[in-house]
């Protein structure tokens, strides 16, 4: 036990004993099968694995949502220290376990940041004077003085996630459970998150992180548990995993352990293409064919334009990545290109040959009761044969009569792409298509995008994911303060890109 901690603080070992769990009535189709896991006090453990392997379920077992909240069938016991979670209430558990979730938007109960940080303490019935002290302490520790007293709805995703961490930290639990906390964040916020986790670990807390993106916890985590089909299949230290190389991690569906390894990967890919002589040759050739947009402006206030781009050139039939910090105006650019905001003159121009936006939350753009109708909806005039062809191109033909919302995340995204293709627009803009995806899903998305580009569409992808850019993009546009800071082809500039996207994250970690 580290020095300086109060004597009454308990050493809390998390023990999962022969746990099985299923979301249905019988254990026949269990998500977790006979799992045994022990996490010692003060350890930082990453639960990694492909989507649907049951790692989120394990996190729910630790924070008591199973068996207390989630309906299903369970056998076995989860012990926190010497207490069985089944015998506690969630309010009691919240004293010992603090949880942060994936979606920063939907984990707030309050409107202003101060009350949000105090929320957990208030629920525990602490003395107001003490709560105030704790809030002040946490605000100082997390360096979030600039966020104090703000409206949460005006914060960015990264800032919201910081507030969520601060709020959990204020109740001073022994165990922190984070469920894909980085899924919706940009790399800078991810670096901040890493700093927070490091601080918790230093204070002797137990931290359990469910995550595909391991790179930011490389120096902090004690071990990585690879979950497969509801069991712990492998265990490594981060160094061991890194030593096995990027290909090994990728073959297990994990994202890269060290962003610096990315360079080699990108090189390998481009060299591979060189041999085939497909993309590299095409890139040189089609540089002449470009799409140009003029006068992209948007401002709420004339003095502070959010977007101010005199000319934007997109290479035709290729994938261009749009990078930049939060608030650089990337989403606004996408919306202006799609005719969703801006002056009506811009909008009218765009209606003729504008772009089609695939939103981050694709649930918002699925309207009808079957995949086929979804594609037909935007068509003018509707043509079922053409629609089916589009579906075949997206590997969706077997789902043509399913309800689009009942599909998996990746399939939904492809349905949305299909509706964009059918609308006949030549430019498709993607808003963070790979957030929260594991390696295999990311590859699937980039394959879809490449196919789309090959069929003659021009793609612009807003992304914070360097791995993804190296995988499929051919051009980069970096935005800063509503302007285009630079534009360059990826080929020959891989190192520069990785450098640019990751410098701040290593600064903060160092």
């Amino acid at each position: 036990m580290p020095k300086g901690r109060p004597i009454e603080s308990i050493i809390m070992t998390i023990t999962l004993k022969n746990v099985s769990f299923s979301y249905t009535d019988s254990l026949y189709d269990a998500v977790i099968k006979d799992l045994n896991l022990e996490i010692r006090s003060g350890e930082c453990v990453i639960l990694a694995g492909e989507s649907g392997c049951g790692k989120t379920t394990i996190s729910k077992l630790i924070n008591g949502l199973i068996p207390l909240y989630q309906s299903g069938t369970m056998s076995g016991d989860v012990l926190l220290g010497d207490k069985n979670t089944a015998d506690m209430t969630l309010a009691e558990i919240s004293r010992y376990v603090g949880s942060v979730f994936q979606n920063p938007r939907s984990q707030f109960f309050n409107i202003d940041t101060d009350s949000e940080i105090a929320f957990g303490c208030e629920n525990l019935g602490m003395d107001p004077e003490e709560i105030r002290e704790r809030v002040n302490r946490v605000v100082k520790e997390f360096h979030i003085e600039h966020l104090a007293g703000r409206n949460i709805f005006h914060l960015s995703g990264g800032e919201k996630q910081k507030i969520a961490c601060a709020s959990v930290s204020a109740t001073d639990p022994e165990i922190f459970v984070l469920d894909e906390p980085s899924a919706n964040l940009d790399l800078k916020s991810v670096a901040d998150l890493a700093e927070i986790v490091a601080r918790w670990k230093k204070a002797g807390k137990t931290v359990v992180v469910v995550e595909h993106r391991i790179h930011y916890l490389r120096d902090i985590a004690d071990r990585i548990c690879y979950v497969k089909e509801g069991r712990i299949a492998y265990e490594w230290t981060p160094a061991e995993l890194e030593a096995k190389g990027a290909e090994y991690a990728a073959s297990l569906g994990l994202r890269c352990v060290n962003l610096k390894q990315l360079n080699e990967m990108g090189d390998a890919r481009l060299r591979g293409h060189d041999k085939k002589g497909v993309i590299a040759g095409e890139a040189k050739q089609s540089l002449n064919e470009i799409l140009v947009f003029y006068d992209l402006h948007f401002a709420y206030n004339r003095k502070f334009p959010i977007l101010d781009i005199p000319t934007l050139t997109l290479p035709w039939g290729q994938i261009t990545a749009l990078i930049g910090h939060n608030g650089a105006g990337k989403s606004t650019l996408a919306q202006v290109l799609c005719g969703l905001c801006g002056a009506w003159r811009q909008k009218r121009k765009v209606r003729k040959y504008g772009a089609y936006l695939i939103m981050q939350d694709v649930n918002h753009q699925l309207f009808t009761e079957s995949v086929l109708e979804e594609v037909l909806l935007g068509m003018d005039p509707p043509n079922e044969k053409a629609a089916l062809e589009i579906l075949v191109g997206l590997n969706l033909e077997q789902y043509a009569y399913e309800h689009p919302m009942a599909l998996s995340g990746g399939q939904k995204q492809r349905v949305a792409i299909g509706s964009g293709v059918s609308s006949g627009r030549d430019i498709v803009v993607f808003d963070e298509p790979t957030s929260g995806l594991d390696y295999r899903q990311m590859l699937a998305v980039s394959a879809t995008l490449q196919k789309l580009a090959a069929s003659g569409k021009t793609l612009l992808v807003i992304t914070h994911d360097p791995e993804f850019i190296l995988n499929c993009c051919s051009n980069i546009i970096r935005m800063e303060h509503g302007k285009i800071a630079e534009q360059y082809p990826l080929q020959g500039n891989q190192e520069k890109l990785v450098q640019e996207m990751t410098t701040f994250s290593f600064d903060c970690l160092g």
């Binding site: 919240s94 939907s106 984990q107 707030f108 208030e122 799609c338 969703l340 753009q365 609308s423």
Partner: protein, 236 residues
């Protein structure tokens, strides 16, 4: 200047309860009080804008009254007048909404012995309006890109389809948010049975007493307890 949430509750109740049941002069009395409170909060710009619009509208209605504008004109004016009547209530609501924090409100409610079962959904509701508009806007954008418009051949042949396109994605994402929010809230130890504390200090102070007395005085006036009521009724 901070008011107790319970005082604010009384203020809104009195001001808004009067919109349709009392002469205009009473609403104006309430607006004056609220404006002073708003100025104390440093929102004088809002107050100025409001009075500009409100007085302008008053002059406009006065001018229209003597004109003969026909039945359709009258109907339009009457509906505008309805909005005009609601405006004072909106000022009070604006004041309360912008100056009350969620936990203050919760503490005030629990002091009034309102059970948590009522407060929790009430707060979720208040917290949820901004999210609701965000979601609706995103769906609107998606509809726009698809070319689904309120008035088009498709929606005119099947008027319920527009309801379907609007509501189904909205409801799906709302239920998802509801699940995530309730999970986040229970893991943070919120439970209807436990007593919670609150960092916001609430309690009655001098300003609360003043506002209280003022509100009660206005109500007393309305009920015709003092002889001044006759003068006021002649007012507008």
């Amino acid at each position: 200047m901070k008011l107790d949430p319970r005082t604010k509750l009384l203020l809104t109740l009195v001001a808004n309860g009067m919109i349709f049941t009392a002469p205009l002069a009473y609403s104006i009395l309430m607006v004056l009080a609220t404006s002073i409170l708003l100025i104390f909060e440093g929102k004088w710009r809002f107050v100025c804008a409001f009075f500009f619009v409100y007085l302008g509208a008053g002059v406009f209605f006065d001018a229209v009254k003597s004109l003969d504008i026909g039945t359709s004109g009258t109907i339009i004016v009457a509906s505008l007048f309805l909005i005009y009547r609601i405006m004072p209530g909106c000022v009070v609501l604006y004041y309360v909404m912008t100056t009350t924090k969620v936990n203050e409100f919760m503490a005030g409610m629990s002091r009034m012995h309102v059970p948590n079962k009522v407060t929790i959904p009430l707060i979720v509701m208040i917290r949820f309006f901004p999210t609701l508009f965000d979601e609706a806007r995103d769906i609107g954008h998606a509809m726009q890109m698809r070319g689904i418009r309120l008035f088009s051949l498709r929606t005119l042949t099947n008027p319920f389809s527009i309801l379907e396109y609007r509501l189904v994605p909205l409801l799906v994402s709302l239920t998802k948010i509801a699940d995530e929010l309730s999970i986040a809230v229970v893991t943070r130890g919120l439970s209807p049975e436990t007593r919670r504390t609150c960092i916001a200090t609430i309690g009655f102070r001098v300003q609360d007493v003043i506002v209280f007395v003022y509100c009660l005085a206005v109500v007393a006036l309305l009920c015709g307890i003092t002889p001044f009521s006759v003068i006021l009724e002649d007012g507008p």
